[in-house]
Subunit: 438 residues, 2 copies
């Protein structure tokens, strides 16, 4: 029997509790896979006297994270505190401190990895330690391992993900029940699925952090969170969702990263995707990441992106990787390089668009609008008029691919037309599948 | 610059050509990920003079596999010959020979891994070598790595996969076009998607090999290919597919492995799955594996299960894993143990069923059939009569969960009823999703 590897766990909230449960109940399996037993040697909490939903020996509980991080008998640090109050501190300091002493460090902290991933990975590299962060993106879905290890023979061209469960739950409800955004949000808040301040989810911040991490890994470059273009779902109406269905689409909040020549595009926004696209069937709080690699073609990874046990599953996989590497004296496989591939300004990005306008129903209005589109290089795939004889009527357009700057110019002119009451919404259309090219 | 690791590739057919392409065109990326350059040092082919679709130095070509395997300067052997003619030899001998000398061995050979995986892994373990076989199941989908590494914190309860692209292509065609099995098969053969002798695909043999490998890994036990219950898709009719659609299902050839108490169930058969199930949207030649783990919940992996470049993507990932491990002096992570979990006899398996009967349309027939079901403990979820006034009419039943032995007894009695012309098909129904329990 080998000596147990001693783990220091910082944080015993939801995910920490799940991790402790797996390490206790699945101890034999985890030991077999990790090459020897693991021991929860130290657990850092705010209040050691608090009643816990997992059976932890009170003697291992403490309140001083740095003491545990500096303990030379603790080679693996598992940081599960997150960023309460939105600050990356003290988590960043803890992670850096652990990495500077060459430890294997596991974290589920998407904020710190997104904002300081390069610094953390560089520090790990300089001191012989390793950073593992599977749980930081898409919970139980092993997308980090897939990108870092399984797809090494590929140039990844594109990632497209549903990586925020709360908004996917809300959009699913809106789609299935025809409900309005505000009503679904209130219900989600009442059930505890959405925060009292929902902006991190519904404005796309959470998804932006996660796609910054995925894009950085997939494209081997550093993508700053602030450089991610971001639109939330607050302006999506039941009318948009009905129009999407009629046109053969589903509305999803997608996080998209694409290579585009020497640039990359990284953006989060509501998106019309074809009903036949694999992402269209990802409902409720499920997450999925769709990847295109030049060799492997289309891949999709689907599962639970949050929750105690799915997230704990990812953390434990990282702990086992870390223990495995530690026993063999080798390092983890996440790489950085100093590159900073330029990000394409959103005005230069190319997409198809859904555009909903409210117009006065009289002869010539369609000609005026289509002329404005045509003059700005926007070609149309389809036009639908809804509510004939009412005032206003809806004219719904789907464009072919167009640069955003051209679309913006066209829409500015259209908004000034006398017959146009408003351009009520504009949503990107993505996701042509290649499912038939067997 | 480190010395290049010298690879010996046995077989330069479709997959071998794809692997050589990636290793050539993606050499820099592969070297970065593998911790140093890789060199295609030796390639074994039948005919060194044959024109190839990839640029290989004629000096590295040879015809003697064992010579390459025994070359002490070739630490990684990549076997891509498969089992022409259906024999595991000489591939098995080659793999064993390479593993006995402690080499890292990559194979895409599902037949050998399914039939001799335990022997190969044991040999690897005894001699300090490693076996990698991601490409043996589901082509470019990294399901082996997911089970072996990403899900180590889970007890995997169930795997359910669409892992034969040819039959999924055929069933998709039958569903979308209402075409008959024979017509679709002829078309698939004409296009080269199906073999002249299609039995490996349409009778479920190919899927049985693959699920035996996946179940052995997921349940850490040895599952013999012969122990996999197997039904093909030859008896599925356009009528069954229409009935499925009407009842809210899609027909797929599923490979299923489930824990059931102290037993495991491993079976391949056509299956009705709900249209809302993630597997239902897997069309054409795509593969997908749906997994349930006790911590992670539901996961699905979707992608191309065959083809030159997707399969090569998986082989290259294994080569990089092998090179990475070799440089660090460590072994691969696939485990075996001596266990042999008993397989549940199919007669004791529990499933729901679709049953299509042709009966004479007269009073009492439904009562006679439902009595036969009830007397044998089969309870019904739904009954539909089709073709009222014709002779015969169809009576279509969907049962609740029932043990197969009970169903078989009920069907034997029903087949003998005077009013029953025939029991024209019986298909299992699986895949209740738990998508709403956020």
């Amino acid at each position: 029997m080998q000596n147990a590897i001693r783990l220091g766990i910082i944080g015993l909230g939801t995910v920490g509790t799940g991790v402790a449960r797996i390490l206790q109940h699945g101890a034999d399996q985890v030991a077999a896979r990790a090459g020897g037993p693991l021991e929860i040697a130290r657990v850092v909490v705010n209040d050691p006297t608090k009643k816990r939903e997992v059976d932890i020996d009170p003697a291992v509980l403490g309140t001083d994270a740095l003491e545990v991080i500096r303990d030379p008998d603790i080679p693996i640090i598992v940081e599960l505190v997150g960023c309460p109050g939105g600050s990356v501190e003290p988590a960043r300091t803890w992670l850096l401190e652990a990495l500077r002493s060459g430890k294997h460090v596991v974290t589920a902290n998407k904020d710190v990895v997104a904002k300081h991933g390069t610094e953390l990975l560089r520090t790990a590299g300089e001191h012989g330690g390793s950073l593992y962060f599977e749980a930081a993106v898409a919970g139980g879905i092993p997308i980090i391992k897939a990108i870092s290890e399984a797809l090494v023979g590929n140039r990844i061209d594109m990632l497209m993900g549903i990586i925020n469960g709360t908004t996917n739950y809300m959009l699913t409800k809106m789609t299935q029940e025809g409900a309005a955004f505000g009503d679904v949000l209130r219900e989600a808040q009442a059930r505890g699925y959405a925060e009292a301040d929902p902006s991190s989810d519904v404005e796309g911040h959470d998804a932006a952090y996660k796609i910054a991490i995925l894009a950085s890994l997939a494209f081997e470059t550093e993508i700053a969170v602030d450089a991610v273009y971001r639109e939330g779902i607050t302006r999506i109406t039941p009318e948009d969702i009905r129009n999407a269905a009629e046109l053969g689409y589903v509305v999803k909040l997608l996080a998209i990263a694409k290579r585009n020549g020497e640039h990359v595009e990284v953006r989060v926004h509501p998106t019309f995707i074809p009903q036949s696209h694999p992402l269209a069937a990802v409902n409720d709080a499920f997450n999925a990441v769709f990847v295109h690699g030049d060799a492997v073609g289309e891949l999709m990874f689907y599962g639970r992106g949050a929750g105690m046990m799915p997230t704990a599953s990812a953390v434990v996989a990282d702990i086992v990787d870390a223990a495995h590497n530690l026993r063999r004296g080798v390092r983890g496989r996440h790489r950085i390089n100093g590159r900073r591939t330029p990000i394409l300004p959103i005005s230069q990005s190319i997409s198809r668009y859904y555009i909903n306008t409210k117009v006065v129903d009289r002869p010539g209005v369609l000609a005026a609008i289509t002329t404005a589109f045509g003059d700005n290089g926007v070609s149309l795939e389809s036009v639908i008029q809804k509510g004939r004889g009412q005032d206003p009527v809806s004219l719904v357009f789907v464009t072919h691919e167009v640069q955003e700057a051209n679309l913006t110019r066209a829409l500015a002119r259209i908004a000034q037309l006398a017959e146009v009451r408003e351009v009520s919404n504009v949503v990107r259309v993505e996701g042509e599948t290649h499912g038939r090219d067997y």
